[in-house]
């Protein structure tokens, strides 16, 4: 059975698409699935550095599309989970190097070998975005609780619905509970009221994301990271599991073994 192609997009840049793609891909691999993550941001590749795989690139997506490399040659295995593979973007070409039909075909091929194919979309609503959704079975929209990000998300939702890709689902990223309590940040419910689509994840702002990314590691490996836990939960929801949303209060610090044995689970 063919795998599922999931595109992660946002409209606005800098809201966390690449971090989300890297961590969802890793979290799904941790769950034992075969996952390919594809950097569709041609000319501005980043998924490789976020995953710490930048030194291993030989061929890229454009090489595959143009026939200079076979798909298997271009795929880079993750350091910890060989079931997780990266197809990097080209760095020296631009978004017009590939068209939507070629991307759809690439997704179809990847879906034969992998359970999940995650496409990291470029920002914007132009060719790069069109390519990124061309082969998608499902679209996840990442936004932040800020006016510009939510407005762009609304635009993208309209385009995804017009492309008849089914109902997109929302990830609200970089949520700051303290600011929400003070009335200085829109709550997740505010954002949902405005965008009116289904929610698949709420990721709190977390400095550990920056620290993990500095090292080229996924934050889902950090047992103390609230963001990491949120990404694990999104991965499980993608697998169809019913996972309750985390309360946004500040976490009680739990030791790694307490987490391992599920102690204090109800508090988080």
């Amino acid at each position: 059975m063919a795998g599922k192609v999931v595109t992660i997009t946002s409209g606005k840049g800098g809201v966390g698409k690449t971090t989300t793609t890297a961590n969802l891909g890793t979290a799904l691999a941790v769950q034992g699935l075969k996952v390919a993550v594809v950097d569709a941001d041609i000319g501005l590749r980043n998924l490789d550095v976020v995953l710490g795989l930048e030194n291993r690139i030989v061929y890229d997506l454009v090489d595959v599309v143009e026939g200079r490399a076979r798909l298997r040659q271009a795929l880079i295995k993750d350091k910890r989970y060989p079931e997780l593979c990266l197809l990097p973007a080209a760095q020296t070409r631009d978004k017009h190097a590939v068209n939507a039909d070629q991307m759809a075909e690439l997704c179809r091929q990847l879906a034969q070998d992998f359970d999940f194919v995650l496409i990291d979309s470029p920002a914007g609503i132009e060719q790069g975005f069109r390519n990124a959704i061309a082969g998608a079975n499902q679209v996840l929209i990442v936004t932040n609780p800020e006016v510009s990000a939510v407005r762009d998300a609304d635009r993208i939702i309209g385009l995804v619905e017009a492309a008849e890709l089914g109902a997109p689902r929302l990830i609200v990223n970089r949520v700051k509970p303290t600011m929400i309590k003070q009335g200085n940040m829109m709550s997740v419910q505010d954002v949902l009221d405005i965008l009116a689509i289904g929610l698949i994840g709420v990721v709190p702002e977390d400095e550990l994301v920056t620290i993990s990314t500095n090292r080229g590691e996924a934050v889902v490996f950090d047992n103390y990271s609230r963001a990491g836990l949120a990404f694990h939960n999104i991965a499980r929801r993608l697998l169809g599991q019913n996972v309750p949303f985390l309360p946004l209060e500040e976490p009680a610090k739990l030791s790694w073994f307490a987490r391992l044995f599920g102690l204090g689970e109800s508090k988080r």
Partner: protein
């Protein structure tokens, strides 16, 4: 924004004082026009024309009337509080 505030003035929600409330309200208004790509003037014209037609048959509460967009840009929702039906009163 005069026309705009007129259109939405009868919302039940109190005026937001927090910055998050302001953000939400500004976004909701901005998205109305992003979604349908029509100007506040056109919406106001639509409102007046609807009032004209409906008031032939109903005694309506003009202050309480509001036009909003559905969840996406797929429907225009018009809410008109009716005081009494003129037609009904004539026939009975």
């Amino acid at each position: 924004m005069g026309l705009l505030s007129g259109l939405f003035s009868k919302r039940e929600t109190p005026k937001p004082v927090t910055s998050s409330g302001v953000a939400k309200e500004r976004l909701q208004l901005a998205l109305v026009y992003d979604r349908v790509k029509i100007s506040p003037e056109v919406l106001e014209t639509i409102k007046e024309e609807i009032v004209e037609v409906i008031s032939k048959h109903f005694d309506i509460d003009r202050q309480g009337m509001e036009i909003t967009l559905g969840e996406r840009n797929d429907r225009l929702e018009v809410n008109i509080p009716v005081r009494r039906s003129k037609v009904y009163n004539q026939n009975s």
